[in-house]
Symmetry: C3
Subunit: 412 residues, 3 copies
């Protein structure tokens, strides 16, 4: 291969990863509007505050410590932990094809940094409408500085799960279930929103703005073209185009699966279920988006979409109050998608299935106690739940001294 060809391909590959970075960035707006839409207007400022500041905090932390934890020069303990110093910085080699034939060091950092923040955002939705802002921020900083990059290293930084043959293309486990397990412990430690399970019954608490929720889901799908498509780590035409197709068909089949089940089982075609169906289709395909053919992608998406309806009902039955369905979408969807790599597609087989199971359990075995400890310490110290009065009147006024929609009632 001649030099100038490498340079040309380097330019187009790098450009694609940067564009994919921008697409992953806009997923944060997707999360913001989805979560705001599915919760009550008295808590909207609070939700949006968290979702606005988390990408900012996430990128800063990833620059200061996360990137070097996740892609360490030196590893210890058989690939369980590693570090290569604080901050980011590079010599000229990092900005040329010498770093990587496909993208620069800066591109690498920013694409990965955009991923990092999503993990904390997944938690945000599940703990909405009753968590103290300060506790959530402390949790997120530690979660982003330690938990996410350590697990990320296990696979993407060449750690022990990678050595083992664990496959997770774009993060069904490494991103989505990491967020999901953190959300699970959060929901358990916090308890349900006031009134949700009062008098032994489940009282649905509808979100205040379905339009915002729909905007969120479309932006997430849009951004997922970058999340999955960028995870090819080059603009390789064969692979990127396949990933776009499997991603889209899984999302589509997820939406249709959830529509059918909600219509048949719940008697009404439920829009929030369709939205969750699309999202779980996206999460589920993520682990093997480059391994499946279109038919397999549709099957995975459809099963995921069916599952999400029952999963949402299940979590309500066991009184784990998750206002936006994050546990169903990201945790259940992430686990299912990770295991699906062993069931369908190029790598399917009993051997791979076992490795996928090991990956799922390894991550759970670290994130569950880590986050449980973190929530526990926060609960004992600064507290994790707002007062009953604040919950009643809303976190917008309580935490921020603002209302989300102050003048709808009056015209002056």
């Amino acid at each position: 291969m001649e030099t100038h060809e490498i340079n040309n391909l380097f330019t187009v590959n790098n450009l694609w990863i940067l564009i994919a970075t921008a697409l992953v960035f806009i997923m944060h707006l997707g999360f913001a509007t989805l979560e705001a839409g599915l919760t009550r207007s008295k808590n909207t400022v609070n939700i949006l505050f968290k979702n606005s500041i988390i990408p900012a905090i996430g990128l800063l932390i990833y620059a200061i410590v996360g990137f070097n934890l996740m892609y360490p020069g030196i590893k210890f303990a058989g690939g369980v932990f590693g570090f290569s110093g604080f901050g980011i910085g590079t010599d000229n080699a990092g900005l040329s094809p010498l770093y990587n034939g496909k993208y620069t060091y800066w591109t690498d950092f920013l694409f990965q940094g955009m991923f990092a923040a999503t993990a904390a955002t997944i938690v945000s939705g599940a703990v909405a409408e009753r968590i103290k802002l300060s506790s959530y921020l402390v949790f997120s900083v530690i979660f982003l500085a330690v938990a996410y990059p350590v697990v990320g290293m296990w696979k993407w930084g060449g750690g022990f799960l990678d050595t083992l043959g664990f496959y997770d293309f774009a993060g069904s486990t490494i991103v989505h279930s990491v967020g999901g397990w953190g959300a699970l412990t959060g929901v358990i430690y916090l308890g349900a929103r006031k009134g949700k399970y009062a008098k032994g019954k489940i009282h649905p608490i509808p979100g205040h703005n379905i339009s915002l929720a729909v905007i969120g889901v479309f932006l997430l799908w849009f951004g997922w073209f970058g999340f999955n498509g960028g995870s090819v780590l080059s603009a390789n035409p064969t692979k990127v185009s396949l990933v776009f197709v499997t991603t889209s068909l899984a999302a589509s089949a997820g939406g249709v699966g959830a529509m059918i089940i909600s219509w048949g089982f719940l008697k009404k075609p439920d829009l929030t279920m369709v939205l969750n169906g699309i999202l779980i289709g996206l999460v589920a395909i993520t682990a093997g988006a480059d391994l499946f053919d279109p038919n397999e992608a549709m099957i995975i998406g459809f099963i995921a979409g069916v599952t999400v309806v029952y999963s949402v009902i299940f979590f309500d039955k066991i009184k784990l109050d998750d206002p936006v369905g994050a546990l169903s979408v990201h945790l259940i969807g992430g686990i299912f998608g990770t295991l699906a790599v062993g069931i369908l597609g190029e790598k399917a087989g009993w051997h791979q299935f076992k490795i996928q199971l090991i990956g799922v359990f390894s991550v759970a075995a670290f994130i569950l106690p880590f986050t449980a400890l973190l929530w526990g310490v926060l609960k004992k110290t600064i507290g994790i739940r707002v007062s009953e009065e604040e919950e009643y009147y809303g976190l917008d006024v309580g935490e921020h001294g603002m209302e989300s929609y102050p003048d709808f009632e009056k015209v002056s």
Copy 2:
């Protein structure tokens, strides 16, 4: 041309069509927010449900049957109909420059599939606020599985209109008027919304959220860079940059044209007219976005923008109730843009004008009876209109058992 050059160009061409695919995808969010914004809040869940599920259903149908109807291996009846089997799948050639020097089979499928769903979405706005969900979905499935790909084949699949020399760069006729004719029969079969033309007068029914409508129009313009720019089917710098310019100038001139007419004629600068002016400018330039120079693009956009104001008034005069102006924007705009190819630009001339007319009429001659029959059968069987009571209280509660904005009035 040497192999590696082909490979490099193949990579960048394919990448552009994939990015364009993502841009066309986000148009579905544009349609969703536009239509939701221009209708009443009691029907918002219903509108958003349709616009969320249609891209999903559309892609699945296009994968199962549409793509092979539209780009058939074998054609019959002089290029009027063709098919090459169910499902999508490819050998390795489809993923290399052997399929096409510009993009892979997967890219081809997904870009075209994103187009398909837009045709059904155009219908959705026109029939909003009184159509039964089940009927709309059955209509859409058949429309997407048969009507859209058959007409698409006539031009883009190498069918008889293509043989004839008909020109439709990105689908003023093949996409927009196809949706428009289907919307026209739908509006006729359904009848107007209750109260719209009560007591011989026209009663405007304002939409519930102008912010959503504006978000929709901007997202549509944004997505149109992919719709038109991607229709170059490569990243050819000359052509893609021209198409971006003509598309933007036509949209701009459309908005300004509609502003001037609405300000002068209706006495107030009407924002919904400006929005429709931008959209009709986009629809009108679509047939020849690669044929016009910037001045011609501005002329076409301006005429379209002037036209849309009168067209909206006209359809109201003849009591065809179209809540979002889809007939004016997509049908009138599509026809005008298609004919403009024969009037201005590279291909202008009496001969071409006649061919363009033939294209317009051929499509009408198929879609009008096809959709009329379809609406007619649906009306006789499952019914196409919700009950008066449901229309009064809103389709959100009637069809979905949900409200779009449940807690604006109460803070708990």
Copy 3:
């Protein structure tokens, strides 16, 4: 370099500038939703009208006169003014690498045209809720036709500031402070909104929809990847990836800086301050996004974010009523970012600092009197402020005869 390499790079470079153009376009939706969200619902139609029509008017004016004023063939008066005729048009050379190894003439025009409209939009937010629509439109047309391209030529068209060594990578001064100075004179000539400073006190007037504002800020950040990333004027991997990183880290640090100060100083973590912090970080980094390393970018963003809180308070203290904080974000942020080029990064030094100061003052020395004169003439002739009654009942009904959210109160 061989021909085919140039062609390949030409294709990918041109593609990136076109995609960047689309990203800058979507910033207009960002401005629209930000400004609408931060003002009252009785003025929403009016805000959105301005923000919808300005990109349209801006592109048309830029095509007719602006582009040739900003990038003139002939210059006069030592590079203070130049022109090369009306309209746009090109021979074939403009569409090939002969025009520019990196992009076509059409790409050049459209990318620059999208920038132009942002300058007028910056004014729109500051003068919101009391300006006459007609006056604002006349102002914008003249501002866009003369003020913006003349100043733009000084630097980007090879005028006297460029000759002097003034550095402004993507427009902290050339775009943002130009808009900012025009906003300043507008705010002074218009006066404050009724009631804002009544009885010697500052009465905050909260915006009607924080969700819209958040959507706006995310879209602006998203679009800024094109604004700054596209200003590399090629897809050069080293430069574009650095610019993406500095842009994102400055935005992040701006948000965090504003959070800390608002939490500490105002006692509550204020979401609108965080949003303004992100935006001022983006504005401030823009002048030297390609000159700073990540640490410097974080420092600049953080200082900017701290500054914005005090700046917003300061403008209120001196009773300059700016509903959306445009003066703080674009004027103060633009000046600070421009000066920062002389303080940190590759070009830092006393000599450069002085040149940067000259640039800032030169622009002020032209835009302040120019816009003051313009506002003054408009005030004497058609008037610039709506009547007290119209201000009380809202510009939506007064200027447009429409309401933004007509049916929230009633379900029929």
